[in-house]
Subunit: 269 residues, 2 copies
């Protein structure tokens, strides 16, 4: 199997996202190796050796995706036997010409504590945890959005992703049978109706997820799941709460759809 | 201000990461607009119009970073007045030649529920939440790693990031004054000593963070923070627990460093 390296003077997250997206075009498996924080000549030489040794038994050279600021480090990696792809500079000449501004490369450009949005994101994570599962009904003034839905419809992971990735403060509130009986919005949520966003899910999938948590319970039964899903969807429709079905979607997709539909302002790019 | 668009038939997360990393080379602010799930000709034509209208008052064209699989959609976006950068294909010819395999582009290549690692990641998030702050000492058999440290040293956001991004099950345990008094590892952690990874932090920063939570308390006082940090670092050294100082690092950086230092196997690339 051929090896793919993702290397950087920082976290290497950008190199990974880029390399992974590019390689995902090909129906081939790679052995993935990430090496972050290659910040010195010694470390770069070590990595060069590791790349040179990673030629496969069939003689296939490793592919190397990297992001470096220091040209000396770049040159060392380029001198390896790997096939190197430097995507950070691939468009920078074109962009320089277009915007008529010279690049000023800095290390730790992204994913560092110095990003403007960083404190927002950590605050938002703490907010999501403190306001998970209807834990604290008094804090909804501070919420950017309040995710609602039946138990296990995907509210918590989505609220954490919105916080970590975008710095969005997402509370979440679980609708119970009692809440939904008369199709009324619970009093604690009423003043914040405009912030509500609903999740729904196929009853079969919901039952499977709940069975992992509480096997053979009434809570996990397909009958109960069908009732709750039908009720919650009627509640959304009655009160015109925007909602989406999470069954076939990842937290990344759900979050991206929520942002697109609500126009919510994110704090990180 | 010039506008930068990030556009995709999927979440547009990849287009954002790439565009953001490339633009971060330039000391210029952009107005950022992300448009995910551009999956139809109608939607693509709408987006083309939006791009055409986004020419700045000085006549500057918007920059457009996109990832599309469907060529018809790509052509529509390329016909706009934006300056388009298609990074997904920029290296694919070179890679095709190198690996001698033709690309088979698929939509929702990344960030979808169909990624092999997806269920692992959601499981890991639920695990991190259930085992946050020493909540459940019985589950440590299942942990890939147990983050330890004094209260507010960065354990919880780090464990959530490890879960969401890498599918790693990270429990976390807060060392209290009592735990550290005699420099012994708490009994519940002893059988899992090899999984322990410590965080530490500058007392000044710790005191600032704690003051936001409980202003003017003994808990937040610089004296108390100095004592706890000194004790916890002695504990790490005495028992050779690997640790790092989180003061100057983002959760992304802390997580990348933990992976690099421990060699922990991640479930997502």
């Amino acid at each position: 199997m051929r090896t793919a390296f993702y290397i950087s003077d920082g976290t290497a997250i950008t190199a990974e996202v880029f390399g992974h997206a590019t390689l995902s075009l090909f129906p081939v498996d790679f052995k993935n190796i990430t090496i972050p924080f290659v910040e010195t000549i010694e470390k770069a030489l070590e990595v060069k050796n590791q790349i040179d040794k990673a030629i496969s038994s069939k003689g296939e050279k490793p592919l190397v995706f990297y992001t470096f600021v220091d040209h000396e480090l770049t040159d060392i990696i380029n001198s390896s036997n790997g096939v190197c792809y430097d995507f950070l500079t691939v468009f920078s000449d074109q962009i320089e010409k277009e915007i008529q501004v010279e690049p000023v490369p800095r290390t730790h450009r992204t994913h560092s504590i110095h990003e403007k949005s960083y404190d927002f994101r950590i605050d938002a994570v703490n907010y999501a945890l403190a306001n998970d599962d209807g834990a604290n009904l008094k804090n909804y003034d501070d919420a950017d959005i309040i995710l609602v839905g039946v138990s296990r419809s995907g509210k918590t992971p989505t609220s954490l992703y919105l916080a970590l990735q975008y710095g969005i403060k997402a509370a979440n509130y679980p609708f119970t049978d009692d809440d939904m009986d008369d199709l009324k919005i619970p009093p604690a949520l009423l003043p914040h109706k405009k912030k509500l966003f609903g999740l729904t899910i196929k009853p079969e999938r919901l039952s499977a997820i709940r069975n992992e948590r509480l096997a053979n319970s009434k809570y996990a039964s397909i009958k109960q799941c069908r009732i709750e899903v039908r009720e919650v969807e009627m509640l959304y429709k009655t009160h015109r709460i925007p909602y989406l079905n999470s069954t076939q979607h990842s937290v990344e997709e759900i979050s991206a759809k929520i942002l697109a539909e609500t126009g919510l302002e994110r704090r990180k790019y």
